[in-house]
Symmetry: C2
Subunit: 336 residues, 2 copies
DNA sequence: TTTTTTTACGAAATCGTTTTCGTTTAATTT
DNA sequence: AAATTAAACGAAAACGATTTCGTAAAAAAA
């Protein structure tokens, strides 16, 4: 049913190699022959079998994007950006989610070890505690580029936003709007981006001579019920914080839910700021002040670097940190 | 660097075919040989080259998911569902977006024609006006399953929600809450799901003896600026509708924006209901009454049907319509 | 003991390309 | 006219696995 080179060759009474070269517009083939081949290919609806070429060339024109979850606007925007660049470069994209599970991440990486993809774009799982699988992948000749949740221990390109500065800025914004007792909702202690945001938070507290209170650092994780419990605890009792800095969108939404049911008014009683790529931030009640990462740009940039590296037959991917700044959008959740 | 079967065979002093069979646990190979091969494979970190197998077996263990856009909660949830099933079945997922562009959709389908994937899950573009490319794909032996934005003209499995009933229910809900002049915001005149929702809307109007006013059918499209203009026009002047039924989330959000800037209060002045998979529907100002499609389930179901079909060497995919009901969640945007 | 069957393995074809070498004929140079 | 070069094509070897078929040795049956 599906025509291949051999079929074309037989029909035309010429050799397979001639057909192949004609289709690739080789200088070795005469003009009239090329025309005949092209015509026949169109007639039979010939399309090359990609896997045959992959096998021969050891190139799959495919990359993998590995993210902790899909139901997260940041990752979706990043993927969209990468996808745009991939389409421009005629690359295909395989998607994998780790569900923030270390074992799953390792298993996925192992599957990518064998040449299925030419490169990987990855944001590490929050439970990842060792990095050997990444090094193994690189040693197998598959370049990997980290974005957002990066891994400093691996020598490669990494794209993030200015997490430290953004953390500082977010906290300073709360302070300037009158907060003195600010809680930090941490995504995961293992992630460098979270630590940087937290360092920015510390730095701001320091600058304004606010003592750091360790009980105001809430270490959240994968278990949503546990997160809810911790946030409920934070927001109950007599001494609740007057400001909350959420390192990630879903924790801010949780705060909204808890405040709604506990009748804690935002921003009068407590002000909330969050890293977020929510499209509806301005429509929330109240509208949410956000630090928005240029996720789409980050995805595009990560893909661009990967393709640039793949296009030249150069050796290893150099160690570089690319930073694209986030933007603070002030809305009502932090209103004085 | 990367070990292949030949390397294993040479190291062990046995033939390639024996190694291959040993790894596949063939009955033809003795127990001690199998052990030796397994040990050597582990030692050299052997992983099979997937493309070699694909070429040989004409099976790629890969499916494609083609959607109009990624920045849409419905599609993301559907993809997540499909991805879960794919992981269970050891399948890989290629993602493509058409950006609601017919030409792009055709081009993507053409790329999938050559055996790159074993099957396709697709939601058609809103500008798609002919279906030959789908038939061509099927004739090339690649099964395709439609979800949500389906194509009735193609004989295959299709998964949707109960669009007609949901459209009716949504409209009836508005009527019961006092609306008499309800506008319908259409996603695209070409899409059957949109038409069904609209039919449900008509049916509800009929049931309650409300005359259909064609000027209240707003045909939106891909051009966001145009959509904004149309919605602004709808909501300006002296005679604005008292209810709005948005066929898709992003149009409802546009209504919110326009109402915000025009100081039209929801739900006092106008009530809004929308098909939507927004996670933040309950946090909006006001919270949005939604018809929520079980997107995750729909994605899972679509993938399940595809894998079931792929697992048995049967011929064609039978024509069937699977319907998973949406749920109406009443919130403040339609409050009396 | 002879014949048959089973067990365990290897040789080689195959999947559909790409690419390296020839090789033939025509064109060009001495 | 002889020698060289260029143009146009074909044969065959890869790429790395799977699988069919053949065969030797060992085991079982006669």
């Amino acid at each position: 049913m599906k025509a291949n080179l051999k079929d074309l060759a037989k029909d035309l009474g010429i050799s397979v190699s001639t057909v192949s070269k004609a289709l690739r517009d080789s200088y070795e083939i005469g003009e009239k022959t090329k025309q005949r081949v092209l015509a026949k290919a169109a007639e039979l609806g010939y399309t090359p079998n990609p896997y045959a070429g992959f096998l021969r060339n050891n190139k799959s024109k495919t990359i993998a994007i590995v993210v902790p979850e899909l139901t997260n606007n940041y990752f979706i925007q990043a993927i969209s950006g990468a996808e745009e660049i991939a389409q421009e470069n005629n690359y295909h994209i395989l998607i994998y989610t780790t569900n923030d599970n270390f074992e799953k991440e390792k298993s996925i990486i192992k599957h990518l070890m064998n040449g299925r993809v030419d490169g990987v774009l990855l944001s590490i799982s929050s439970t990842t505690s060792s990095y050997m699988h990444f090094n193994e992948l690189i040693q197998n000749g598959v370049p990997i580029i980290f974005f957002d949740r990066i891994c400093h221990e691996i020598e490669t390109a990494k794209i993030t936003t200015n997490d430290f500065a953004s953390g500082f800025l977010a906290t300073e914004h709360l302070i300037k709007n009158g907060c003195r007792d600010i809680a930090y909702l941490s995504l995961s202690e293992h992630l460098s981006i979270d630590n940087k945001r937290k360092q920015g938070y510390f730095e701001a507290l320091n600058k304004y001579d606010i003592k750091i209170d360790e009980t105001r650092i809430i270490n959240c994780g994968v278990d949503e019920k546990m997160n809810t419990k911790k946030i409920k605890k934070l927001l109950s009792g007599s001494k609740i914080p007057d400001g909350i800095f959420a390192s990630v969108e879903r924790l801010a939404l949780k705060v909204y839910h808890v405040c709604n049911s506990a009748k804690i008014s935002i921003p009068q009683k407590i002000k909330v700021i969050s890293f977020s790529n929510l499209r509806t931030a301005d429509l929330l009640n109240p509208s949410l002040t956000t630090i928005t990462q240029p996720a789409y740009e980050i995805g595009k940039e990560a893909a661009k670097i990967l393709f640039k590296h793949l296009s030249k037959r150069k050796s290893v991917l150099l160690n570089e940190n690319i930073i694209i700044d986030s933007v603070l959008t002030i809305r009502n959740s932090t209103k004085k």
